[in-house]
């Protein structure tokens, strides 16, 4: 049970990161997103890149992102994802949530340290 909970937090975080990536970089394919997250996390996060696709599907279902087939830089067929207006709104909400929660968690952890 506890395993599932941990991965859930991770999933949610991954969703958030992908949304943010798409907002910052615009249209991207899955590989591009994975590279960007790898680059930003600087190897702190161990990421099974396949899970990016699960996350993308979940975001698609909520219509926060859109997908279409296109051609990549090296002329390969690839599926490109982009953030929707609805996704932008959700990102703002999630971002605020995240900041609030991480703020609280940070303060709590600090309290622990003072003891």
């Amino acid at each position: 049970m506890t395993d599932a909970k941990k991965s859930e937090v991770l999933q949610g975080t991954l969703d958030l990161m992908i949304l943010k990536t798409l907002q910052a970089l615009g249209r991207q394919h899955g590989f591009g997103i994975a590279r960007r997250i790898e680059q930003v996390s600087r190897d702190v996060l161990q990421l099974n890149e396949g899970t990016v696709y699960t996350s993308l599907l979940r975001l698609l279902q909520q219509k926060w992102i859109a997908a279409e087939w296109g051609t990549s830089d090296n002329n390969r067929r690839a599926k490109f994802y982009s953030i929707t207006a609805r996704g932008e709104k959700q990102l703002a909400v999630e971002k605020e949530n995240w900041e609030r929660i991480s703020g609280v968690v940070g303060r709590v952890l600090q309290l622990e340290g003072e003891k």
Partner: protein
Amino acid sequence: MGNGRIFWLRAFAARALGLFGLRKRDSDFDEEVQAHLQLLVDRFVAQGMLQEEAAAAARRQFGNTTLLQEDRRELRTLVSVEDLGRDLHYALRSLRRSLAFAAVAIATLGLAIGASTAIFSVIDNVLLEPFPYKDAGRLVFLRIQDTSRGEEGGRQGYTSNELLEFAEQNHVFDDVIGASEDLVLYKRGEGVEQLYGVHVTPGTFEFFGMPALYGRVMQPADYQPGAPPVFVMRHRTWMERFNGDPEVLNKSFVLNGTARTLIGIMPPRFGWFEADVLIPETPVRGVSTGFAGLPATWFLLGRLKASVSKEQAAADATVIANHLAKINPQDYPAHFQVLVKKLGDTVIGRFESTLYTILAAVGLLLLIGCGNVANLMLARATSREKEFALRAVLGAGRARLVRLLLVESLVLAVGGAALGVLIAWGGLKLIAAAMPQDLIPAESVIELNAPVMFFTLVVAVLTALIFGLAPALQATRRDLNDPVRDSCKGVIGGFRTGRMRDTVVVMEVAVSLTLLIGTGLLMRSFVALREVHLGLQADHVLQTQLPLPEDRYKTAAQVRGFFQPLLARVKALPGVVDATESTSLPPYGFQNSKIEISGKAHQDEWHTLVQQVSEGYFRVLRIPFKVGRAFSEAEINDARKLAVVNETFVSTYLRGEDPMGRRVKLAGLETLADPVRDPWFEIVGVVADVTNQGLQAPIESEVWVPYTVTGSGPQVLMVRSQQTPMALMNDVRRAVWATDAGVALAFPSALEDRISQRLYAGPRFAFLLMAIFGCLGLILVTVGVYSVLAYATARKTHEIGIRMALGAERSDVLRLVIRAGLRLVTAGIAIGLFVSLLLGRAIEAQLSRGVKHYDPATLGGTTLLLMGTAALACWIPARRAARVDPMVALRYE
């Protein structure tokens, strides 16, 4: 978290859509994954890895693609087909392993679903959608109700004047039509036959909005004076009398002496006025005579305007009626109101509440059924705790376990629904056959229909969800380790689920008792109805109406010229004891008349029922005389103005006085088509009271006079026979034809059968169905109590073993188990009694006079019955427990 629901809904929609086009998306995804892997490989190779090394590293970094694929499928669709198939397989296997459980569950569900489907079908066909007419819900008729009389009833026939006034002056109807009944004689072969006809006003067929099945309906031109006479026939009549022969269309028939062309056959569900034939007639102002020489009366049917309520219509009609009452005060009670009634009320009336009572009963039955199955499932889930714990430990997610249980219950529900539909189909045939035909609209067709099937499916699925989910959640909520470790099966075993099961049993017993008490009350009521003393002997009497052709039978002398020889002929038939003419059939009197009594002054209006009869009437029906005598044959033939009255008449108007020789003026006889001049009648006899307003209503005062005083009024022949009355029918028919070949028997039957059909059919139907449902409820509850106790006892085998090892006697064990069971039953009975007393008022309207909803005998009897059955259900597992061998029990894991 309102948002949460939206997210969930969106995902659900996407998944539901995902059920389609699964394969294409999968190949898309494969392509995407392959591209990604290739890019990773390219990257690793660029970093200096060997091709094979790079491929492995890429796969490592990407993760397990198979798992991913599964994740995606789960995300994308509701249930994957493979998983569903596996669950179905598991479910069937585990159900097969406990066949008895599955059989009981499916049978219980099937009974409950079947019964409710059948009853819902009947309700839908008879009450909700009986009429196939345009805007049937807005069709209403008007009734003038005397407000000084408490009970329902009143006049709903109107003169041509009134019909036209209502039709022209109202502001609330789109359309108004009139219908006026007529007994139609037509020549066929050597004799005549009789049909029930109705005269319809212009616009009638447009009003109903139904085209003819064959031929055409009436056009405005058909109502014009001088138009060629035509008529339209009902489908049933066409089938029964003419074997559905299409050749009869456009043929000419002589109806009541007029040659009319049959222009159309209506579709099967057209049943306006239950008429065999429909004849066009334009109502005209001024007095006209109708059926049997009585003033023509029109039944008035209007279609409410879309925005008008029944109350508004009543107010509007009251204005018109008040105006009419000023012109013809004799036709209206001093204080009246106009009631606006739905078309369905013409026939259904009291029967409606009967059907709703039965629907309620079936609802209770369904409740018991679901309770039973829920209990079975709970018990089963509890005994499978370990199995589920094991599955969970081996990695089954909670959702997966819940789904597995859900599939199991769905399998049961689908089985139950299928069986239910079968039961409903068979039950509906039985119900339709038992249905009192006079109490339901002729237009209604009782069959399983689409909305009803939908209802069944909803019931089945809901039941599955309810009884499947509750135990499923309970079974999976537990901590994983707990049941695995819990090898000892229950000194306390399953405390929480135990309480839930107990609650269900208590509820079931309560509901079942409510159902049984309802059944018992209806039975009492039916028996009470059968015991109503008619005041006459209806057995061995043949009755038939004899509508006389109006052109040849207008005057009293003409009517006497028919009946005098006919009665002589009939009395001479072998096997005939006596015969009489009359205007109506028991237990109903004929028309109501205002009266005056010589030497009695009074302010208020006095009324009495009046019947015209021949001298044999009181002998044929065996009505005893209290004082005085009957008419003699000579007095009848001389049309002497003599009267026989009933006891109620004397006690109402001549209390404490000698009625003999008093003179009564029957004002109603003055307004007949063949009026009686100076209608003062001398009382020569007083008879005992005979029911004359049906079985339930109190007896009215009544006066009998010789039929020879007027040629108006319907004619009925009653014959007392030595043998079965119907055996006389052909002889009687021949006697009628020998007297006048142009007269036909109408609706001949044994008087007893007719009374029973008209009056007992509704209550008998209600009682019959309630009895069936009551028994089913009792059976289900017995199974319920038994299964719970048997299960609880089985779980306690270990405990019982210990008790016995420590010296408990078999009788102690027996007592222990029975007491546990009876405690639940008693609680249920207490609640059931309370609820029954509370709900009793609802059923009160269904009961005969004199039967109270708290009838102690019924309450006591049903309680005892339930108690006894439940005790039996407790006793069987108790005995089994008492037989437990302590050694075996203790070793028993």
